[in-house]
Symmetry: C2
């Protein structure tokens, strides 16, 4: 998976073509939605043959995943870290408010909706998503929580995966199901109550 052992004679893959396809795919899914995205449309707009897309991506899902991945900052960045000022609630609130603002950007909202819809139905695509986007992000969040845990700000018994879900799932759910308003105020309230539920059960006194 890491490096292809193939001899690699013959013409090399054109990086510009790959970039053009991904950029066009992002635009199309942002404009027409996932159901409205067709490989033919992407090929035509990108000035590319259909076969070039089918050669490198198995289908719509993988294409959109790559397209969103390309536009997401800090996803594959190994050195990235969540803010750590010592104030856990303020740090997490900042991250969640930033998420809310990202989800409010119309283009990103529609593109991510397309990807999310595909993930709900396609188990294999969900696996790729977990591996390449959600997993790394979750690792950052767990690292920040672990530091708080070691500083005695969190229940030492708490499962960090559950903790991450408790803090971030409510906002994600509101967004994906449109079940309520998505405001910085709501984000801060969620963080406040989630952290209260994750704090050490017996106060240090």
């Amino acid at each position: 998976m890491t490096t292809a052992p193939t001899r690699s004679t013959g013409r090399r893959r054109n990086p510009a073509t790959r970039a053009a396809i991904l950029a066009t795919a992002f635009d199309v899914v942002a404009e027409l939605g996932y159901a409205g995205l067709t490989i033919e449309k992407v090929a035509a707009r990108a000035g590319v043959g259909k076969q070039t897309i089918y050669r490198w991506w198995p289908g719509k899902g993988a294409l959109v995943l790559d397209a969103v991945l390309e536009r997401t900052t800090g996803a594959g960045d190994e050195a990235a870290e969540l803010p750590d000022t010592g104030d856990l609630e303020a740090d997490l609130a900042a991250v969640l408010v930033a998420t809310v603002q990202e989800l409010t950007d119309p283009a990103f909202d529609r593109a991510l909706r397309g990807l999310t819809a595909a993930i709900v139905e396609d188990a294999e695509l969900a696996r790729l998503y977990q591996e390449r986007l959600d997993g790394p992000m979750r690792e950052l969040k767990k690292r920040r929580l672990r530091r708080a845990q070691e500083a005695g700000q969190l229940d030492p018994e708490v499962d960090l995966d559950v903790a991450v879900d408790l803090v971030f799932a409510p906002v994600a759910q509101r967004w994906s199901e449109r079940s309520g308003l998505l405001t910085p105020e709501v984000a801060r309230t969620v963080v406040r109550h989630a952290l209260r539920g994750l704090a050490t059960p017996t106060p240090p006194r």
Copy 2:
């Protein structure tokens, strides 16, 4: 909207036909997924003309919503209530564990995945879903929490919608994004921490 003022002469709608269409739609989406469901397939399997489906449903989304709604217990039931033994944590854990078990049933899992995927992308369908399925369920949950709030078991300042999200979103998220195991144990842990975060900040004594 309440009562049709139309004279309604002519042949009446056949309830058996409606039921056959919805049952078939549920089976098809459970078997082939939302993307694999076509109106033609449902019509053929149900032994029904395509026009009969297009006459009563605007498209795939509304059809699948009705199909899932038909199989969901307690959704439109006005008299339904969440359990209330006085032990809030035990009551909510029972509900969430039941949800986990429902989501573990393969047929229901796949059908609900189809509906969920459609909802993420289609704002109008999401509105219908909120109105007919999520809204009523949320009302039951809020009623149970409100009673706990009045009994002094919950922070009187807490927004009940946020409270519902904090308790139920983590499990829903795990299911839809396949981001972690879905076990009764996890459900109980989520309820425990969520309620701790929603309790009255200063103990009554």
